[in-house]
């Protein structure tokens, strides 16, 4: 195989664009996962199911109630986050700071949510109708050939980027964010400084689920919607977070970028199985050599 | 008190050094422990005492230097191989199996004498039964000897701190070592308990087992050891009988100094 023939500039540009939009979704999912781990020390094996809920919420709000897409996506996130506070009260809070119990207990929660969704919404796969069908074409002067950019993808990218920016502002520039960072650093010290951890936990949980649900909504629109769709987002979150370092926020960003770009690049050039295999192999290798990830702290 | 240097040395350390990054934790240490000797290692916190033990006990590998035990080079041996040679240590903390009875703790210490090899262990033979019976009597003797008999069936985590420390020693002794390394055996103990431990260690020596005792309590060390090594910044500051060492001005200045008056009061 001759790579220089395969990898034309226009293909490269296309990979970059697709990679960015995939990465942004992965980062959103992984941020929620890493937040829950970093602050509450729970490994949220039910993470994919929250993404699934986001997908179904978008299906209702946009597909059925016909709300404007730009409103429907954040609203879907809000609805799921608000609803999930019930689970925070009834399930999650018993697993805070208990990593091992949380792994198995939340795998239990994952099956509960998955099969409840099956009972509620049935087994069939659904399609969230696309929001925009136009495609932008540009870049002919630069690459000699047009780059194709579906508006759909552009809007999704915009939404996830906005959410990421909002999250950044929240974490870095608000009191809530400060408290979360303090709790992530050392819960006991944070408590001693007068931070009410129960409140911080609940806030962090809501933020994490909000981001996950938005990502899940977008994910569900790109691929498909079904009670079983949570598998993939969970795996992605897992891989991203382990790549970047469990609990590290910049690590989730870096890991998401690496995974998104790598996946698009490899699957375009070599097919999806190679890409899957490399991402799995890479993550297992990282876990073995550097279990705390690229940007995490060794214990 | 005379150092018993008559027998061949059991443990010899040659030029032992360990650096962590840029920190030189132990530098060029030379030492020998004779059969039947009790050697004290003393020094202020951060002097490299525990690092020295860890180097000798196989917890980490030295940057340079050699450790010879009974004439064999055992440098960098993992702890289980050292134990098989007869060199066993205790720990400052996590010294016992909390969820088990005192007796079971000792059985776990006696692994070397119960274990016939991986696959033979799966076949229940008369020999295995005999081994178990022998170890049980050995443990009875050990518990009697250390004054733990009354606690034999109690869970270790329910025992008072001092008894747990003694049990830590019992676990080490159950391996029937030729040399035990005791890492701060009296840390946090009352004066009475300290005296008890001192007597116990003397009796251990009486049974033909050498000991290296690490502590920063000079009174305890000097009342117990044949020789004392004073560490300071990872280097040997002085070595000799407790009397000789205490007389050296460098030791008084560096370690005993003005803190001595206070250190005496717990």
């Amino acid at each position: 195989m001759n790579f220089t023939d395969l990898l034309t500039p226009v293909l490269f540009g296309q990979i970059l664009l697709d990679g960015l939009s995939v990465s942004s979704i992965y980062i959103l999912i992984a941020l929620g996962f890493t937040l829950l781990f970093g602050i509450m020390r729970v490994v949220n094996f039910a993470h994919g199911e929250f993404a699934m809920l986001g997908g179904f919420a978008l299906y209702c709000l946009w597909g059925q109630f016909k709300l404007p897409f730009i409103v429907a996506v954040p609203l879907a996130g809000l609805v799921v986050a608000a609803g999930s506070l019930v689970l925070e009260q009834t399930v999650f809070r018993f697993f805070y700071q208990k990593m091992f119990q949380s792994m198995i207990g939340l795998l239990g929660l994952s099956t509960v949510m998955m099969y409840s969704a099956m009972i509620l919404w049935g087994e069939q796969e659904r399609q969230i109708p696309p929001a925009f069908t136009d495609t932008l074409e540009f870049g002919a002067s630069l690459f000699g050939e047009n780059l194709l950019l579906p508006v759909d993808r552009l809007v999704m990218f915009g939404i996830s980027l906005t959410t990421l920016a909002a999250f950044y502002l929240l974490i870095m520039h608000t009191r809530i964010g400060l408290a979360m960072r303090a709790a992530a650093e050392d819960v006991e010290v944070a408590e001693a400084m007068g931070i009410r951890t129960r409140v911080v936990y609940r806030q962090a949980f809501a933020v994490a689920i909000f981001m996950t649900a938005i990502a899940g909504a977008l994910y569900g629109q790109i691929y498909f919607l079904s009670f079983q769709m949570g598998d993939q987002p969970l795996l992605k979150a897992f891989i991203v977070v382990i790549l970047g370092g469990m609990g590290s926020i910049p690590g989730a960003a870096l890991g998401g970028l690496i995974l998104g770009m790598g996946e698009v690049f490899l699957s375009t050039l070599f097919g999806p199985s190679v890409s899957n295999f490399v991402s799995f192999g890479g993550v297992i290798a990282i876990l073995i050599c550097r279990p705390w990830g690229l940007l995490g702290k060794p214990e | 008190m005379m150092a018993r240097t008559g027998g061949s040395p059991l443990l010899v350390i040659e030029g032992l050094s360990k650096t962590f990054g840029t920190l030189r934790a132990v530098q060029n240490l030379n030492l020998s422990v004779a059969d039947g000797e009790i050697l004290g290692i003393i020094g202020p916190n951060g002097a490299g005492k525990t690092t020295t033990v860890n180097l000798m006990a196989g917890a980490f590998k030295p940057t340079s230097g050699r450790v010879l035990f009974d004439g064999h080079d055992v440098t960098g041996f993992p702890p289980h191989r050292l134990a098989a040679q007869g060199l066993v240590r205790t720990f400052q903390s996590t010294t016992v199996y909390g969820t088990q009875t005192v007796r079971e703790n000792c059985r776990r210490g006696a692994f070397l004498h119960l274990f016939p090899g991986f696959f033979p262990a799966l076949v229940p033979t008369a020999r295995a039964r005999a081994l178990r019976a022998e170890v049980e009597t050995e443990i009875d003797r050990l518990l009697d000897w250390l004054g733990l008999a009354e606690f034999a069936e109690s869970e270790a985590r329910n025992l008072p701190y001092g008894v747990q420390k003694t049990l830590g020693m019992a676990i080490a002794l159950a391996a029937r070592p030729r040399l035990v390394m005791l890492d701060e055996p009296v840390a946090g103990m009352s004066a009475e308990e300290t005296d008890h431990v001192r007597d116990t260690i003397k009796r251990i020596r009486g049974a033909g087992i050498s000991a290296i005792v690490i502590d920063h309590n000079m009174r305890f060390i000097s009342g117990l050891c044949d020789r004392v090594l004073v560490l300071h910044h990872g280097e040997e500051l002085a070595i000799g009988t407790p009397g000789e060492v205490m007389a050296q001005p460098a030791v008084i200045e560096a370690y005993l100094g003005k803190g001595h008056a206070k250190a005496g009061r717990p």
Binding site: F100, G108, I288 | T99, P116, A172, A175
Partner: protein
């Protein structure tokens, strides 16, 4: 911990139990119950061998993947290579064991929680390989029309006896290991590895050996199961299947082979009896898992202890294996 029960009593009880298991189908034959019982016996091998790994302090979420490797090995050796089943079974033991020997020395160096994560990913990877390597594994549809080990095994009763035989041997081996000095060393190293090593226990070597043995035993389950179902699919590989094996142990308190057997009966028989309500059954399963992990991480054994504690007024401390200290 209570003192070990005397071997004679254990042996007598075990023999009586096995005798009962051999004879009951002769007195009362129900093919449905027989099918469930056969499944339970097969899974008891996976659950008990997994417990060996757990008792060294590592919770593996890829044990079903190793059973799957054994299953595929056995099926391929019989169907493609034309081996008789008893030779294929040796392959079904050696293949996962060899694989475990390859990756075990690397994985077992990880601390508890990272081991869980890696094995989880490993299970996914195995399932992915099984789906993708279509030439060998038949892809996501799996391999069909797997012959029975021997023609006589078409009778479910004979297959039941075959499974019983292997279950007795494999579970017996697990029990034997745990009751030997190796078992004592394993329990000790789970509590404090450095203390155990100082007693002369080659902890790491024992961990790897146990991992290899346990994965080899899992292959027996894989083979027996595949040849009974006539079909094997990548679904047999997934982390959820592995989780199931972990949960069988969780229910039994994780440090007790009897508990693992109890958990196996519970988790295999319950779903089969509730057939037709698959969704509800999974929901109930999940709820039980949440409740047990949140309130009773020591499983039924802890529940028993607490109930007894209520009666005797004695406070019982948790003996959970699955804690953050592991």
């Amino acid at each position: 911990m209570k003192p070990r029960s005397p071997p004679v009593l254990l042996l007598a009880g075990g023999l009586a139990g096995v005798l009962f298991l051999v004879l009951w189908p002769l007195a009362w034959r129900s093919d449905f119950i027989l099918y469930i019982a056969t499944l339970v016996l097969q899974f008891s091998i996976g659950a008990c061998s997994l417990q060996l790994i757990i008792r060294t302090g590592h919770i593996s979420l890829s044990h079903a993947a190793f059973a799957g490797i054994g299953g595929y090995a056995s099926v391929l050796l019989v169907k493609s290579a034309g081996w008789p089943w008893h030779f294929a079974l040796i392959g079904a033991i050696l293949a996962p064991a060899a694989f475990a020997a390859l990756i075990g020395p690397v994985l077992l160096r990880l601390s508890g929680k990272y081991f869980v994560l890696v094995t989880f990913l490993f299970g996914e990877l195995m399932r992915f390989v099984a789906t993708d390597w279509q030439g060998l594994t038949g892809g996501s549809n799996g391999i069909f029309e797997i012959p029975k080990p021997y023609p006589a095994m078409r009778d479910p009763l004979n297959y039941y006896w075959l499974s019983l035989g292997f279950s007795v041997v494999c579970v017996g081996l697990c029990v034997r290991i745990m009751r030997s000095e190796i078992g004592r060393a394993m329990d000790a190293m789970r509590e404090s590895e450095k203390l155990t090593e100082c007693a002369g226990v080659p902890a790491f070597r024992i961990k790897v050996l146990i991992f290899v043995i346990a994965c080899g035993l899992a292959g027996v389950q894989g083979s027996l199961n595949a040849h009974m179902n006539n079909v094997i699919t990548p679904g047999n590989f997934g982390p959820l299947e592995s989780l199931n094996l972990v949960v069988m142990n969780v229910i039994g308190g994780m440090t007790n082979m009897g508990g693992a057997l109890l958990g196996t009966v519970f988790l295999v028989a319950l779903p089969e009896l509730l057939r037709g309500y698959v969704e509800w059954q999974r929901v109930i399963y999940g709820v039980i898992l949440i409740v047990v992990m949140a309130f009773l991480p020591g499983g039924l054994v802890e529940l028993w202890g607490r109930l007894r504690g209520l009666v005797t007024g004695e406070a019982v401390r948790g003996t959970a294996v699955v804690t953050d200290e592991t």
